[in-house]
Symmetry: D2
């Protein structure tokens, strides 16, 4: 059936290949009355863009967003919002060899088995370029969440290979090319990344994302649980291999008396749940952690097979990130924002009548 | 909107509360021609049932499945299959106090914020009793996957608190009450669990689940990726806090040369991908690991608030598992089986014409 | 995929065969806070029930609705509402001959081509018995529409064969077994029906249904237009061959100056649109007309083929309505109510912020 | 939620306003392996285009389709197909007056009530210009249906005001600007249309559409019935007020012995069912009839209100069709083709295993 749409009520449909004429999306179900201008997309698209520093891929895309529909006199009208980004830096080259070999760790082999054919140019549809449109669509979601509910969504890198933050300063995150929360480690990471790039190898990364000020009550039991949809949203990002909510895998070794977040009129005593209980937001910070694998596109040769089933050695040339996770924070933010806004609309649909029924326990990330 | 349905083409809708008259489900979209009898549900329902050993909750449900529709002369007809299980051991008691307090770590507080009211009896809809119907529905999916594709789905417990398997013997898993793959550790775990139960506390667990013999080509890029749907499926199970595919979070510290699974005509050299590339099955074993938190229902008192916002101390009496993960393997298997069958039908819909286009690299879990 | 669910946000899933153990439904997405008791279903189920008069089929079902879930202390909780009706009057008989012949005008031939097998007992899943659950589910929708919005939904028969109402008295409709709006014609219709039943033949009927007090603004352009969903809802009822909104087919011969409904501060001058413009409700009465074919179950012999492709003559014995449309008004009401409530929730999801932006032109059916 | 997508497995999402920068669509779920070139869209877009003759609106759009994605080397790859058409003839003018008045019979009033704002330029999203993308998307569906199943879909105008065809010659339909099946009446219709245009008024039309060679077995009971989805598809087209399948409203006055289509090894004796029984195709021609209202955009003044609720007189200037139904045949074909291809994929998903189980009774339109 192909599944290029995301969300139930706020529904984003993306299209486009890495080296085709354009990528784009349609955002359906967006409430009317939101002010949106082309320049609103600039900040987040730049944050995820390739070529931000020498540590990420050197593809330079203008990534100019054209608003094709759904906005009149600068305000959303409730009709579908079409966004278009032309591919301007898709270098023409000979793809015939790439088309005949399966890069290990890539979708080449599986796409060909599924569809019987594939667009080999730059990874085609399976390229991370698709995530551009997720980030673009989420610009609207972030704006709505912030303006209507005071919600912020922020991600940072919390691990690169074995390197972990020594301290945490939220102000540091946007001040370095690694979305790293401890400025004192930046030089060390730069040296690490330079050496890595020289070696031709790649590493994985962990990204933490948090949503603050989400009101209690969002989320759909049983199969549309807020955490279940966050897990799917994150796992749908290229290169993701794991997702945790709150304490995550650490919960396995916890005792119940430690894990359960006690409550008092002053607030929750802890947040091992990650802001979600029974699939529904509790008012605490929603916390999520995501594992990105090291990219498999390496100039170090690797054994594989070709379309005839014969053994070959593949070397991936071209522009590639030695650590794809370094560009992932805006994408993780985007997916979390899209899930939250969709759930907010769904909650309003079913429970729009339910008034405040009980005192709210102060949330936050305590 | 409420989301009590799971799957796109094989669509399971469940209903029922823990202590209401019955729980049930409707399985829609099931292919015709599958032989199903009431006794086919017995084995898996017993595997997940409470009261299997002294280490799990002592609620004793007969869990007799009545087939209400969709099966004629023992064969599915393609019409919706209605399954019903009466609740026979829902003890009547006074819930007025429970209704006024929020158990920490439970959905009490969030359900009430969402809906403005809740059924407090035994956790109502948020009880793990709902998973009975997932297991029942998946009996049909497992049968179809095995009969048509030779696929098996099997789960085991791979961690309890800090205890990990020393060895791995697939034959051991079903031979002890812990779904534990090393028989030599069973006595140790029994002692640990007995002490835990006496202490009144609880612990978490990790469950690993694997699907073997899945053909290459199943999965829907971009937002219906096989791994994204598995992540959602697992995270929708009560008490789950994390999901990994293949190497999972270990991928963060891997190098690309280590993580990428090299290929040769003899097969894949490793399976860090967990059998999924670009959201599509590769023919390797599909491997998934799931974190279960320790249950929050404890007879050890904990601070909380009541519906008036006043501080209270709560003690949860009644039947509860000190380690809910011990009953989870059949549920994890069920969710993986439902995802796989659904994706199989979706693949057939779009790509039913695509014949074998290239040699299959031997899969397995190497 | 099979499509036994109806609605997007208020989602009704039905199951069950005519002569199986039970029929039932799950209503998902229902707002919390609605008072519902088993006796609330009585009136509408009686209105559609067989055996209401000598003019409808003599099958006598108790049609006792059991509420299995989603209601606590008589109030909906927001969790899925399971309803069950046992089949008590499914007479056991020999179906082997029926299983081998295709009744003309029935789904026997098409079900067997689709699924490769079928349940021949009483029409199985294709029996109009399934509509019982539509009527039951809509009891809740009607209640919500009336209590929250003052909306009423009412249907009547507006044509039987060539007989049309001479006058229209809304008070007459529920006072005769034909849902007929002119009491002075009832004796004539009774005579007509008695003669028809004696002849062994059957006739068609037309049913008109109207929803009053629907506020302006409900409906989803482009493909979820209110009229498009009403059309699908009505056409999904057994035996329906045509649907009109407002002027319907009469619009073909109208001039634009006649058809367009002029507006003034005093209201609309006419209602040829049937209360819907651009797929969205205008505040006028929503009017719909539905064509029911004559039943094909006749004791008069008809030529057909058997499963071997050989010619045979079929005679349908058993209990059948000479005019199935006579039981259809409650079913048409049910489908319209379900569409309206679903659209109301969808409207609230997207446009819950949009306040009153302009004066409402008085609606009604002028 | 907004509903700008159509279809379940073959899913078309359209976007764009009449006078915005562009209109477009995304076709998701399309099978791989279909040859598609930009010029393939030409014929059907020309058939529906404005300005085809003096009898339709004089807006002249190039309607050049750009394929943005999903096609590689001229063949569909299974990834979403993005199509874009720039609006080139959207004349700039002053819309401030139009923005403040509600044209009778238009969506102006209802859009403003729903969304609180609207794009007044040329009808915005509610313009029939949106149907361009339906026709474009269906070019692919028609090709697939024809190439894989030999299915053809063809529509003609069967009534204009009170004028009906005297004869029926399928070869005549494409030979005149009215899609009229009797060439001898063309001069008469031209005279009628010329007089109508001069008068400033408009008329309605009826369009019949037929699909030939549909195999038995397509369609999803209960709520996804083939006829239910055709009804929704047709009613979703601008200006449609009624839909009939097979005998349609004529079935009301038929006897069962007349309506039921008897069968013999030589075929069906008639086709009052319109090729659908129980919501599933029977192998006979699928026949559908659609009522189009007269356009409400008239230069003859009409009473209405403005956004302040004050009475005003509105005159619609600009380019408008005196009979919108005359351009509808390609749109009706498009919707029927999209429904059929979607159902074909759905049938393959669930019943792909079901082989030929019984002799096929010859179909056709007898």
């Amino acid at each position: 059936m192909s599944d290029n749409s995301f969300g139930r009520l706020l529904r984003v449909t993306t299209f486009g290949e890495s080296h085709g004429p354009a990528i784009g999306c349609v955002i359906d179900g967006c409430p009317p009355g939101i002010a949106i201008a082309p320049e609103d997309f600039r900040a987040d698209l730049d944050r995820r863009a390739t070529g931000k520093s020498r540590h990420t891929s050197q593809r330079h895309e203008a990534d100019e967003v054209e608003i094709l529909s759904g906005v009149y006199e600068g305000i959303t009208t409730g009709t579908p919002i079409g966004l278009l980004v032309r591919n301007t830096d898709a270098r023409s080259k000979d793809y015939s060899k790439i088309a005949e070999q399966f890069r290990p760790g890539h979708a080449d082999y599986t796409y060909l088995h599924k569809y019987g054919r594939r667009d080999p140019r730059g990874g085609g549809r399976s390229s991370a370029r698709e995530t551009t449109m997720r980030v673009a669509a989420a610009v609207i979601a972030k704006k709505w969440l912030r303006d209507r509910h005071g919600i912020t969504v922020q991600a940072h890198v919390s691990q690169i290979a074995d390197i972990r933050p020594r301290g945490f300063d939220v102000a540091a995150i946007e001040g370095n090319p690694f979305f790293w929360p401890d400025a004192s480690q930046v030089a060390e990471i730069e040296a690490f990344m330079d050496a890595l790039r020289k070696s031709g190898d790649s590493v994985g990364a962990r990204v933490d994302v948090v949503a603050r000020n989400v009101p209690p009550g969002w989320g759909e039991p049983i199969y549309g649980k807020l955490d279940a949809e966050i897990a799917a949203a994150m796992m749908s990002i290229n290169a993701v291999k794991g997702v945790e909510i709150g304490a995550g895998f650490a919960a396995v070794a916890q005792r119940g008396t430690e894990h359960r977040d006690l409550m008092s009129p002053a607030g929750f005593a802890s947040n091992h749940a990650g802001g979600i209980l029974g699939g529904i937001s509790s008012g605490q910070d929603i916390t999520c952690s995501v594992a990105f694998k090291p990219t498999s596109s390496l100039r170090l040769p690797g054994a594989t097979v070709d379309t005839a089933g014969q053994p070959v050695e593949v070397i991936t040339t071209g522009r590639h990130d030695p650590c794809v996770g370094l560009r992932a924070p805006p994408i993780c933010e985007a997916m979390l924002a899209l899930v939250l806004m969709d759930q907010a609309l769904r909650h309003r649909a079913q429970c729009g009548d339910v008034g405040v029924v009980l005192p709210v326990v102060p949330g936050g990330g305590a």
